[in-house]
Point group: C2
Chain length 257, copies 2
C-alpha cells in the first residue's frame, strides 16, 4: 500500500491503530494543531528543542493541507487517531477533526522515530515492540524542555532495548537522521533522567528489557503534547501517540550523510 492509499483507508475510517511498521519506506509524522495566536511561540519552542521537535512542515493558517509532505493530505482525517486538549487536559479522543476544525488553526508536522526504526530493521536490528505488534514505550522524563511563551514541560522519550553492539549500531544509524530525532539522548539507568519504572510507560506499551540489554532513549515527538499540557491553552490538538501521519517522503531522503 502506498502512503496515499493508506491515507485514503484511514480517511474512510477503516484503520484506527498504531502506524508502527506501516509503509516502512516513508516518513511518518507527529501532528500538532494550534491556534494561530500561539503559533509563533510554538515555532520558537521547536527551534529551541530540535531533538524532540524537528519540524518537517507547517501548514498555512486555517489550511488542513501539508503539500510539502504529500499531495492531497488532509490533517483533519488522515491520521488514525487524535487527542483534543482543553486547558491543558486531554478532553477527548477523536477519530477525525472534521467537527472541531477552526479557521484559525495551524498544523505542524514533526519528525517521528518510526523513520529510523525502518533503517534499524533493514540493518538487521530487531525491534521488540515491532516484533510484538505493540506501540513503542514512551516516558515523561525529568529533562526540562527549553520554554517559549506558554510552552514548556518535560522531554518525552521513546525507549527501545538493545544489546550493546546493536545499541552502538543504532546510535550510528539514527545519527544520520536528525529530522526524525537523530541520536539517542540517553541509555542505561532510567532513573538518571527521572524515569521510575520502565514497565509503566506514560504513553504506548511496555516491553521487556532482557538482562543482557540496555534501554536506549530517544527524544520523542510526543514532547509537544507535554508542552501543550503545560501551556493550558483553551484548545490544542495532537495525534494520538503512535497513530501518525504517513507522508510521501522517503525516509532515505531525510539522511544527512
Amino acid at each position: 500500500m502506498t502512503p496515499a492509499e493508506f491515507r485514503r483507508t484511514v480517511r474512510a475510517g477503516r484503520f484506527r491503530a498504531s502506524t508502527a511498521g506501516l509503509c516502512g519506506d516513508f516518513a511518518q509524522a507527529n501532528l500538532v494543531v494550534l491556534p494561530h495566536a500561539v503559533s509563533s511561540d510554538f515555532l520558537r519552542f521547536c527551534a529551541l528543542n530540535p531533538k524532540a521537535c524537528p519540524l518537517l512542515a507547517v501548514g498555512e493558517p486555517g489550511q488542513w493541507a501539508l503539500p510539502a509532505l504529500g499531495a492531497g493530505i488532509d490533517v483533519r482525517s488522515d491520521l488514525p487517531g487524535y487527542y483534543l486538549y482543553r486547558n491543558g487536559e486531554l478532553a477527548q479522543e477523536l477519530p477525525s477533526l472534521a467537527e472541531v476544525w477552526q479557521d484559525d488553526l495551524v498544523a505542524f508536522a514533526i519528525g517521528c522515530s518510526f523513520s529510523f526504526e525502518q533503517m534499524l530493521l533493514r540493518a538487521g536490528i530487531a525491534l521488540r515492540h515491532v516484533a510484538q505488534h505493540k506501540n513503542v514505550a514512551m516516558y515523561r522524563s525529568q529533562i526540562p524542555n527549553k520554554a517559549a511563551g506558554p510552552f514548556g514541560g518535560q522531554l518525552v522519550v521513546s525507549m527501545r532495548p538493545f544489546r550493546a553492539a546493536d545499541a552502538i549500531r543504532a546510535i550510528q544509524i539514527s545519527s544520520r537522521f536528525p529530522a526524525v530525532h537523530g541520536a539517542p539522548v540517553h541509555f542505561g539507568d532510567p532513573a538518571l533522567i527521572g524515569i521510575g519504572d520502565l514497565q509503566r510507560p506514560d504513553y504506548g506499551d511496555a516491553v521487556e528489557v532482557l538482562p543482557d540489554e540496555t534501554p536506549v532513549f530517544w527524544a520523542c515527538g510526543v514532547t509537544p503534547q507535554e508542552a501543550i499540557r503545560s501551556a493550558r491553552l483553551p484548545l490544542a490538538i495532537a495525534h494520538k501517540p503512535g497513530h501518525m501521519l504517513i507522508t510521501d517522503i522517503p525516509n532515505e531522503r531525510l539522511a544527512v550523510f
Copy 2:
C-alpha cells in the same frame, strides 16, 4: 613539539613514558615486528580483525623505515618502549631494538585510539585517564579473534568511562575514524564480554567508573600482542602498551566523513 622532534627526543633516550595526549593532532601507532616468514599470515590476521588491527603502514622486509607515516622514522628507536616476546612469552622490555634487529624483520603500524581521543577532547568530552596522567585501561576480553595461520587469541579492549550523553557523542565521533578502531565494540556490563574486574586491567592503569557512568570498550591495538602470545613464535616484537609511535599523519586526515 612536532612529531619529528618528539621522535628525536625518544631516539636520544630522553623520553620513556606513555605517549597518551602527546602531539595530540597527530596519529599514534601500535607497532608489531615479525619475521618475514609469518608476515603473510599476520596481514591476513589484520584483514580478518579490522576493528582491532587497522593497518596504517607495513615496512619493507628488513627495513626499519615507515615512510608513509613520516620522513626518517626508525621503528628500532622512535618508540619509548618495546616488548620482546620469545615463544609467546614476554621475555624482555627494551628501550630500543638496535641490539635485536634482524634482516628478516617486517614492521607493521596499526592505528591507535589516542587519535580519536584527541577528537573527543576537542568536543569537550573529558577523558579520566588523560586528566589523571595515566595510561588507558586495557583488558583481555573473551571475544575470540578470527584466526589466521598461528595468530589467534582474544580481543583486547581499551575502556573509557562516560556518562550516557558523552558516550553517545563518543560513539558518533569515533565512528568517523575506522583507521583507529572506529566505534566501540561494547558498553555496559563488562562480564558480557568476559571481563571480571574493571579495577584489574591486563594492560595500562585502572580508572574509577562513577555511579552515573558506563564503561565503554573499544577494540585495541594491543590485540596483536595476544595474537603473538597465541602464535608462540621464537621471536616477536611489539611496542610497550601505551608507548606508541607518533607519526606525521594529522588525525583529521583519517576521518571518513
